[in-house]
């Protein structure tokens, strides 16, 4: 509970700065309008105007909150204008991509740990894969998959997978290698098979590493799904909302989609945190 005060202080400071920045950035347009109408603005009129423009450079927090309220609580979930609907579209691609990425990451890690050739050859490629800007790669993945008749959820999920498998590989390789030489020697004194050593020692020992990676991976998955919605001119999803918003200068819509994406990421990370605590507790490790 003691951490509430500092957190609230920081949030409060952010809101104050945000409102001040809105005045500063939106003032030119307010003066412009007033100039054309031939009126002069008092200070309070200026502030009121900068916080209530229709297409502000920077929308004020309450404008974003109102927009989010209107597009979530006030809209039916099935409506094309519901932010929940768009979030769900993005979330489904995120979850599918995350599941695929986690699976791929774990498989590669097991290969790297158990196979000398894979250890030498795979890791450099895994690292190279992450040096290519995803914005450059995403359109190609979408176009290629479309060309072979795959569209919709899967191409977006592929981009999510592409971003999320990386932290899982890195974390799992570290986790599977975390048992000490002594523990591996001990297994040998019992004449344990490789699979017994894997299931009873390496895998359980890797769990804390896996969960740390999953938190990074799920956030990366969400970014991947949003990026995957940009190049296709998708009509649904948070990425599509961002894109449409920027076409039409709907800054309030952009900001509300951004905030929604951030909230979604926080939620996903929190869910993994809960699963982590439950799992490690059941394993006696927390």
């Amino acid at each position: 509970m003691r951490s509430v005060v500092p957190v609230l202080t920081v949030v409060g400071a952010i809101f104050v700065l945000w409102y001040l920045a809105a005045i500063w950035l939106n003032a030119p347009w307010a003066y412009d309008k007033a100039g054309r109408a031939g009126v002069t603005l008092s200070a309070s009129e200026l502030v009121a105007d900068t916080w209530a423009q229709e297409k502000p450079k920077l929308p004020a927090p309450h404008q974003v909150v109102t927009e989010i309220w209107n597009t979530t609580v006030e809209k039916k979930i099935t409506s094309k204008r519901s932010l929940i609907y768009h979030s769900w579209i993005t979330l489904s691609a995120t979850l599918l991509g995350f599941a695929l990425g986690t699976g791929l990451g774990i498989l590669l890690a097991v290969g790297i740990v158990y196979n000398r050739v894979m250890d030498r050859s795979v890791m450099p490629w895994v690292i190279t894969s992450q040096t290519i800007p995803i914005l450059a790669l995403a359109p190609m993945i979408i176009v290629v998959l479309n060309a072979v008749g795959i569209s919709g959820l899967l191409p977006k999920a592929m981009i999510s997978m592409y971003l999320s498998f990386f932290p899982v590989v890195v974390g799992m390789v570290k986790g599977l290698r975390s048992p000490e030489v002594m523990q591996l020697d001990q297994m040998r004194t019992w004449n344990a098979s490789s699979s017994q050593t894997f299931w009873r020692l390496r895998l359980p020992a890797s769990m804390p590493f896996l969960f740390a990676s999953l938190k990074v991976g799920v956030a990366a998955s969400l970014v991947g799904a949003i990026v995957g919605e940009l190049p296709t001119g998708a009509v649904a999803g948070l990425g599509a909302r961002l894109l449409a918003g920027s076409y039409y200068g709907q800054t309030i819509q952009i900001w509300s989609a951004l905030i929604m994406a951030a909230a979604l990421a926080a939620l996903l990370v929190a869910v993994i945190g809960v699963i982590q605590r439950a799992t490690l507790k059941r394993m006696g490790m927390a």
Partner: protein
Amino acid sequence: MLIDCAISAQNLDLTFQTNDGPVHALRDVSLDIKKGDFVSFIGPSGCGKTTFLRCMADLEQPTGGSITVNGVSPEAARKARAYGYVFQAAGLYPWRTIGGNISLPLEIMGYSKADQAERVRRVLELVELAGFEKKYPWQLSGGMQQRASIARALAFDADILLMDEPFGALDEIVRDHLNEQLLHLWARTEKTIAFVTHSIPEAVYLSTKIVVMSPRPGRITDVIDSPLPKERPLDIRETPEFLEVAHRVREGLRAGHADD
């Protein structure tokens, strides 16, 4: 090679090839350990005690000479689960209870669930940890963890126990107690024990045979058959016989150092 030998080493050599050149961890080591013996290995750091024990356990491959465990090669003995190995650190798995840790080798060796439970109960009693089966390692003191790791090595019926400084990290009071317990355990189970230690009193108190080693190259400088009776209360350490053996061990250690 005698038939009643638990461990028999003839002219054992082991040279590690390192970046700084070869390290002679063992040179011309010959030793017979009879079944039921309690043998301590004592010597300064780096004299090859751990390496010798690891050769018995088939964790290192000698570069020369020969060694048998229960009359067969160390590899065959390991595969027959002829020995239990206790490392310096207890090495219990934090995600398993004490009971779960002790049944780990039993699971690996394919014992039935009922047999596992029975054995866990029995060895926990043997190391005086009855009632701690459901506890996790972090809930136990260092000495109790080490006892649990000994229980784990006893759970399957290996008749040889290899122990590498198992009490090295514990304070002296705990150590005295564990030494006493270990002697009782040895008397009750009639196992052959090979025990590495740094401590002269510990070696003399526990052993029927004390092997003094010295480094560079690692070799045996003295083998002392203890004249002490099998029944040993802690205060035997004040008797003249005890002090005489301790003196001879100390002399042996000093001689090993003299030609440095």
